[in-house]
């Protein structure tokens, strides 16, 4: 059978290119049902990009949901085996409220998940794959990477009470240092500590430059080492396409270690999002570590076809 690729739209071309890439890298395809029991999402509502879910009652009376997310289903279905790492890729439609529209949309998403590993090698591999995925989508792309453990260590050292911690994290996510200073000042943080968190919030530089910037800001040695290790793990050819950006935060009840977002020129929001979610595994009673990412193909509809996918 021959397929005339001229009839494929951008989304389809990129989907095929990404699936081919993941397949060649030894990831196994994963197919899932369109719906899941609602309970799965109810228990992990904060993990979802939008909390709204389309629900319906099945013929047996169980409350079901059209899946708003893929990772939760994969983690639930995963059966851990000693010393076995599960590497999966998927190409699925999810149903959630899209950014800015306020209504439900069917969103096509392609991604990878790596479950059950113990060392950092899978994180390295997934970061490299995220960079390759972006390169397949557009010749002009950037991957912004954050180390959540670095953010968490600094935030925790301030021992912020009440809502101040959440408010500080919100300000960091907005690169909003004027309000971050006010929040930390009201919480009684020392000016020196406040300044460190502000410098971390504003940091947006190539990994090696970020280490220099943050060392000058007095960020603890252990955090700098974590960033240096991450920089060393990135493929050499990624130079100029990766920046450290600590405004990228996930819900730290689920995510930890590394979080990242990918951008391509011409699309106004991130087209790829991922990170480590060891804490989600713990919450669902599973051992080991996990990392993955999703590419949001619906955002690529208007991207000019570059022919390189």
């Amino acid at each position: 059978m021959t397929i005339d690729t001229d009839i494929l739209n951008n989304e389809e071309k990129i989907s095929f290119a990404l699936r081919s890439l993941y397949h060649r890298r030894g990831f196994a395809p994963y197919r899932m049902r369109k719906f899941e029991e609602y309970e799965l999402y109810m228990k992990n509502k904060d993990f979802l990009l939008s909390p709204e879910v389309i629900t319906f009652t099945d013929t047996n009376g169980r409350l079901m949901a059209l899946k708003p997310d893929v990772t939760l289903s994969i983690v639930r279905a995963w059966r851990p085996a000693p010393d076995a790492v599960q590497k999966l890729y998927y190409d699925e439609n999810v149903y959630r409220v899209s950014e800015g529209s306020g209504g439900f949309r069917e969103i096509r998403q392609t991604g990878v998940e790596c479950l059950g590993f113990r060392d950092e090698s899978c994180i390295r591999e997934v970061l490299a794959l995220a960079l390759e995925s972006l390169a397949r989508i557009s010749p002009e792309s950037r991957l912004c990477v954050s180390r959540l453990d670095v953010v968490e260590e600094l935030i925790d050292s301030l021992a912020l009470a009440g809502d101040a911690r959440n408010e500080a994290l919100r300000c960091m996510g907005e690169k909003n240092v004027h309000e971050l200073r006010a929040v930390l000042s009201a919480a009684g943080a020392k000016p020196g500590e406040t300044e460190k968190l502000c410098r971390l919030t504003l940091c947006s530089a190539a990994p090696k430059d970020a280490v220099g910037e943050l060392a000058a800001a007095g960020i603890p040695e252990a955090s700098l080492t974590a960033i240096e290790r991450l920089a060393a793990d990135l493929p050499e050819e990624s130079a100029g396409r990766v920046s450290m950006d600590f405004s990228i935060l996930g819900d730290m009840r689920y995510y930890n270690a590394v979080a990242f977002q990918g951008y391509v020129r011409g699309v106004p929001s991130s087209v790829l999002s991922g990170g480590c979610y060891d804490r989600l595994l713990r919450r669902m009673g599973k051992p080991g570590r996990a990392v993955g990412f999703a590419c949001y193909l619906d955002k690529l509809e208007r991207l000019e076809v570059s022919g390189h996918a």
Binding site: G100, E140, S204, P268, S269, S270
Partner: protein, 207 residues
């Protein structure tokens, strides 16, 4: 080209003057015509005036790389943008206002008239107070006078309108001012230009 969305009206003119003093001038903007956008090719900049409540939409959706929006709009619509600078112009307060002698009766649902449904709901939810939110688009101050609501949640600048209608500020929810915002993808691809803009404009901010 860097696209900049400014709010139409007095606030926008004040903000543009700050951009101009900071070195991001666009002489075409002073010409009297009905053009909707203005370019300075030498500086690779394009300005456009939009309705103040639309600036955040233009920026979040990438039609503008940066823009200036009121904190009230950012709190109400929570656009996914970076908030890079408090310009400290257009300063006012988001307040609860009502009749001067108003006493809240906790045994009854509080009726709140407002344009800012999310801010009002969020504020009273944080207090654990049950409210009936009445969405209005203008002349909010009329609502408690005519018995449509018990109180209002609205922006108060000088308080003159409230005083002249026998109303008073009962609570301040949050101070409001104009903020410089940026699209997240634009920040990634125009990082040095946007950072340079933030540095230059921050020198124009009155402390």
């Amino acid at each position: 080209m860097l696209n900049i969305a400014l709010p139409k009206g007095r606030l926008g003119e004040k903000v543009y003057a700050m951009f101009e003093r900071a070195g991001f001038e666009c002489p075409a903007i002073h010409e009297e015509n009905r053009k909707l956008y203005f370019e300075n090719e030498a500086l690779d900049l394009r300005y456009f005036w939009v309705k103040p409540s639309d600036v955040a939409i233009y920026v979040a959706r990438g039609a503008a790389d940066v823009g200036v929006a009121g904190k009230d709009i950012l709190l109400e619509y929570r656009p996914d943008v970076y908030e890079l600078l408090d310009l400290r112009v257009g300063q006012c307060r988001m307040c609860v206002a009502g009749p001067r002698d108003f006493q809240d009766d906790p045994a009854r649902t509080l009726r709140v008239a407002t344009k800012f449904l999310n801010i009002a709901s969020g504020y009273y939810a944080s207090l654990g107070r049950d409210i009936d939110v009445i969405g209005l688009n203008g002349s909010i101050e009329l609502a408690p006078i005519l018995g449509l609501s018990d109180v209002i949640v609205d922006i108060v600048e000088t308080g003159v309108t409230l005083r002249e209608n026998n109303l008073a500020v009962l609570e301040t929810i949050v101070p409001i001012s104009a903020r410089l915002i940026a699209n997240k993808a634009s920040f990634v691809f125009h990082k040095s230009r946007i950072e340079e803009m933030v540095r230059a404009i921050s020198r124009e901010v009155q402390t």
